[in-house]
């Protein structure tokens, strides 16, 4: 039975990493926005939900039109969902946050909560409150270890999710560290006024940050709609909460931190569900967040913040 236990552990590891990859993609949106304008973009979970809805709708349309070759369908869905979700991210920033730049700290947060309520109900009205099912498209997987009682398998979908996340993360790190946009973004993060004085268009940079966050959330939404096969208008809240937890856990404002935090949250959730109780998995996630904050208030990879007078 010891062998079986090890295989069970490995299987949970794979499941947890998949889940973590999704959380990491969403967490980047939180951490970037927090880094650049210091606000919790509460509506980000809803942006992810919209990404997932657009995926389900586009898949259904493609199914009706007759595009059934999976790689092509997936590509089209990804592009459509990324573009439109990115536009949603841009619009939300434009309407709800930009007019509030420079006002006191709680104002954008309240506006973000209002936006989140609005988007949730908007999707509920437009598409109905029922759970939307999606036919499984990518079936099968690779059997890694064949045990007597339990075999460890990694499905093709899990592989795609992990590979996709890895590619996006690498591309994103490159974007931040080596492109003019990334430079502008880092400059705005450090000192927005100074960056504007030196010719960086701060408003445009902030808008683009929101768009990039939304695009990554859209990818997460597409992946989740395929992985779970169901989407409803309420999925954004908990996923957003956990992704934000991931961002804080990794050290908010830090990109590698968001990735690490996402993976950790996914693993904690998977292992807790597997070994303890599935009902209390969210409690476990938040408890660990509190413990980390007590002993390492800046998160795992965050820099200590020195408050100046």
């Amino acid at each position: 039975m010891i062998g079986g236990a090890l295989e069970y552990f490995l299987q949970q590891l794979i499941n947890g990493l998949t889940l973590g990859a999704v959380y990491a993609l969403i967490a980047i949106g939180y951490t970037m926005v927090y880094g650049i304008i210091g606000m919790i973009n509460f509506a980000h979970g809803e942006i992810y939900m919209i990404g997932a809805f657009i995926a389900v709708i586009t898949f259904s349309i493609l199914g009706i039109v007759g595009v059934t070759w999976v790689p092509l369908a997936l590509l089209i869905v990804l592009i459509v969902s990324m573009i439109i979700t990115g536009l949603y991210g841009w619009t939300v920033e434009r309407i709800a946050y930009r007019p509030l730049r420079g006002s006191f700290r709680l104002a954008p947060l309240i506006s973000a909560i209002g936006m989140s309520i609005f988007l949730q109900n908007y999707v509920q009205i437009a598409q109905g409150a029922k759970i939307k099912p999606l036919q499984p498209m990518i079936r099968g997987g690779i059997e890694l270890i064949k045990g007597e009682t339990f075999s460890v398998t990694i499905s093709y979908l899990q592989l795609i999710i992990m590979a996709m996340t890895l590619v996006l993360m690498l591309g994103f790190s490159y974007l931040i560290s080596a492109t003019p946009l990334g430079r502008a973004q880092r400059a705005c993060e450090q000192d927005r006024t100074m960056a504007s004085l030196l010719g960086v268009n701060a408003d445009r940079t902030i808008s683009l940050t929101f768009v990039l966050g939304a695009v990554l959330a859209a990818v997460a939404g597409v992946m989740v709609s395929l992985y779970y096969g169901v989407v409803d208008f309420y999925i954004g809240f908990l996923a957003g909460l956990k992704a934000f937890t991931a961002a804080v856990l990794g050290g908010i404002g830090s990109l590698p931190g968001a990735m690490l935090g996402g993976l950790l949250i996914g693993l904690i959730e998977a292992f807790w569900s597997a070994y303890f109780s599935i009902e209390y998995k969210d409690v476990a996630v938040f408890t660990i967040l509190v413990v980390v904050l007590i002993f390492r208030p800046t998160g795992l990879l965050g820099r200590p913040e020195v408050e100046k007078v």
Binding site: E279, V283, T287
Partner: protein, 434 residues
Amino acid sequence: MTVAERLKDAIMAAAVAALLALPLIGFETVDTGGPLGIKTRFDYIAYAAIVVFLGRLGMRIAFDWRRSYRERIVQAEPTNIDRKELLTVLGQKADKWLMPVMIGFAIVMPFLPFANRTVIDLGTVVLIYVMLGWGLNIVVGLAGLLDLGYVAFYAVGAYTFATLSMHFGFGFWETLPLAGLLAATFGVVLGFPVLRLRGDYLAIVTLGFGEIIRVILLNWQPVTGGPAGISGIPRPSFFGFPFSADPPEGATAFHQLFGLEYASIHRIIFLYYLILALALVTNLFTMRIRKLPVGRAWEALREDEIACTALGINPTNTKLTAFAIGAMFGGFAGSFFATRQGFISPESFSFIESAVILAIVVLGGMGSQAGIVLAAAFLTLLPEVAREFSLFRMLAFGAAMVLIMVWRPQGLLAHREPTMRLHPAGTKPGGGKP
């Protein structure tokens, strides 16, 4: 802006709206049993685009008109007070004269001609939110701590009341302090580790705490009854005299005590006055504690934590008292909620409740007691008025939150003045306003 520029701007906005609406409004998913079917609703996209086009055009014209109006005013009379300032000045005065008016109205309300059962019930709901708003105001408005999980303390109060009164036979007045005490204890336990941290972490931890409490309520079947909740919570009595048509043997009912005809509205009115009294106690407490050293320390901490530390204020302990006291009032309100409803379930304590209470505090203009009453009335009555459009009321609620923030980020009645001033206006040595 020229006409052409305005038109171009509006067309751009309409194009964005059409693109946003295309997948989510343009296509409707239909359940067919198998793969989802799709119905198209392209006409809706056209409506959305037209509405956005006209709205954007109107907004541009209004803004330009207002700007030119302001410029003319400034040229003509340089010292003209900005009209927005008026509301701020109003906010500062409001606590002085608006509160007595509102309290007076609240006291006579049940006896006014239009007051039927529905109106009094609505008044009770508004007052519950007023009390919650005032309780949270201690935490958010005075101490400047962002609490996104206030509803957790409300839930703790409600479930404490339900458990104690059902299993141990405690009455309302015995349970009330215990519920408040337990909620305050939760506040201390939660606040102690996280109050040393920066404000944003507090926000997320309180948010997580709210979720934890909800999950526990859902799953701890033997005590909380799980998703079904607890029903049959004892109704309150008038200091030992029950409200019932035929009281149990040996007890005197309320209507017999006062020699009235039995009417079910007596209890409704009693509940209304009960929450009014509880809310007024919260208000009085807040107004008085603001003048005490600890209350002044809260406001000072909100403004500048480093300066406070330098002056020897212990930030963690000071914040902890605010957090615990806020939680305590949440617990009181929870007890009242439980006894009024007679039934509680985790559904009543979801995150949206926390968001509504926080919205009340912020819309009211952080720290303004009168503003909170107005915001509570607005936010609780808006969904009631819009009940016919029940599908759209939460949509309107979210949109209203965004719009009010954009229009007036400082809240309806702004009030962030320190309560104490070294030199009150006009008395500063050398004269003039400080």
